[in-house]
């Protein structure tokens, strides 16, 4: 291929993708713009294309109608606790399945992976009843507990742990390391990138989860962000300025965190996703 032709293709491809990317990013841009306008302005014709001056007012409305500060704290607390606990459960299990041969290993792992294909709807009703019997309805643990043994997380960790050389573990054992200490001192340190990817995935998963918190949370003071936003949208007089300010407040920081960590996230996720 000649250099000129290569350059032509390069310009064509890059500008084509740039247009597609602009279309994909329109909702983000518009979300930021809309969050700073009043409900009336959002539905003006022509619609506002530049930021306005109503952000503070929108956030105040949100605070008054939906305890938004409290709701964000709920979401953060639940997502952090979930990430820590589910991260521990998935990492331990992933290591166990990846690095030990034991009776029942394959069938037990297969059983856990069954969770990937059984639709969530199947367990919705019985889980709800179980939570009612445990008297957990309306509590944080009702949101957190059922998804701690997340099949995808276990799968991801098993794949990443498999890449760890056995010699490393053997030399640790030769030096008299107990199995738990081995896990803590020898296995975990080199797994940091995979752990970071798992943590980002778990946090995003919990932060954005909707249907389960919607079912088990009762009181609007304990709502998570998605549940609170959806409940606001159902009101007779929906204040879209406030809702969109809340949506932006929930989505934009996550997007920025993701952008900052995406290299680790994508590579960590892929280590698990593509090997078959």
């Amino acid at each position: 291929m000649t250099a000129a032709r290569h350059r032509g293709r390069s310009i064509l491809l890059t500008s084509g993708l740039a247009i597609a990317l602009a279309a994909v990013l329109v909702p983000f841009y518009w979300l930021v713009v809309a969050a700073t306008h009043s409900s009336g302005e959002i539905f003006d014709s022509p619609p506002p294309l530049l930021p306005g001056g109503h952000l503070a007012e929108n956030l105040r409305t949100l605070q008054d109608t939906a305890h938004f500060g409290r709701v964000v704290l709920n979401s953060l607390l639940i997502a952090v606790i979930y990430t820590l606990c589910a991260g521990a459960v998935c990492t331990l299990a992933g290591y166990g399945f990846a690095k030990y041969r034991f009776r029942g290993r394959e069938p037990l792992f297969g059983l856990l992976m069954l969770g990937l294909v059984v639709p969530a709807q199947v367990t919705l009703v019985p889980l709800f009843q179980l939570m009612a019997e445990l008297r957990w309805l309306g509590t944080y643990q009702a949101v957190i507990m059922p998804n701690l043994a997340l099949p995808f997380g276990i799968f991801l960790m098993r794949q990443s742990m498999a890449a760890l050389p056995d010699e490393l573990l053997d030399s640790g054992r030769m030096d008299g390391c107990g199995e738990l200490r081995l896990f803590w001192k020898v296995v975990l340190p080199p797994m940091k990138p995979a752990l970071a990817a798992l943590a980002i995935f778990l946090f995003l998963y919990q932060w954005n989860d909707f249907i389960w918190p919607l079912i088990v949370l009762r009181d609007s003071a304990t709502f998570t962000v998605p549940v609170a936003l959806a409940s606001l949208q159902g009101l007779d007089e929906t204040d879209y300025g406030a809702i969109l300010a809340g949506t932006a407040a929930a989505a934009i920081p996550m997007a920025l965190v993701f952008l900052a960590l995406q290299r680790q996230f994508v590579s960590g996720l892929l280590a698990g996703a593509v090997k078959e």
Partner: protein
Amino acid sequence: MTSPSTASAPSATRAGRGVRAVAARGTARRPRAGRRAAPYLFVLPALLLFAAFKLYPIGRSFVISLHKTVGGSDRFVGADNYARLLHDPLFWTALKNTAVILAVQVPVMLALATGLAVALDSTALRARAVFRLGFFLPMVTGLVAYGIVFSVLLNKDYGLVNWLTGLVGLDPSPWLTDPLWAKVSLGLALTWHYTGYNAVILLARLQSVPAELYDAAAVDGAGPWHAFRHVTLPGLRPALLLTTVLSTIGTLQIFDEPYVLTGGGPDNATLTIGVYVYQNAFKYFDFGYASAIAYALAVLIGILGVIQFRFLGEKS
């Protein structure tokens, strides 16, 4: 990846004790017994939680599906709920809607994702990092968040989308209020959200296709299209299988988007099986019937999963 050498070296006393343990025959057995129990202890928390919050509910759901709640108490009705399913027009509507999304949106999205992955992998593309970031961004956004944004963007009278199409002289489209357009809107929202995610999976696979294969194809005089058909696509096969199966499972269970975007309307045009299960369970509190629908869905997913593995997996 961090090099393994970052693992801390055991202290001298530890090493000393290890040597002594091996030397003394009696104590040598203890670490081995610990090693045999260790894997079970590592996987135990996951298994216990899974049994309590997944396996037990799956079994219980089947029992519930054989019961009907009458006046506050459960009565055994056998297969009645399943029989009712066969004659319930709404169930068939939900099934049909879900099937339409599966047949139209999923292939379109996967084709787009494949094209996107190939483009993002191309050396001809400038500023690749920027594009990769940008296209992956929608997958970070929660379903409720983007459902709300789309519902306002697609508003018939005041939405930005109709304003833009109006600039080029098109009549406003009833995006969310007409049965056909509502399906289109749902498809657009799903495509926006999941294309980047699927492209990530495909892209990673693409990077493991050996460059020599492309060189060989070029030597044989293959153009870009031939190289794509005979090198790229076969190389992508396992990843395409994975994304197809994941998208199928996800689509069959779809709940959040129609719930937030259209509420299943208008006139049940976007009623999916997922929304119908939710309505029966938590709006009408007909747990038995909701569980029967969910079980029918599980069977469907199982069947489709097996078919896809047979069909797409045969050559690999």
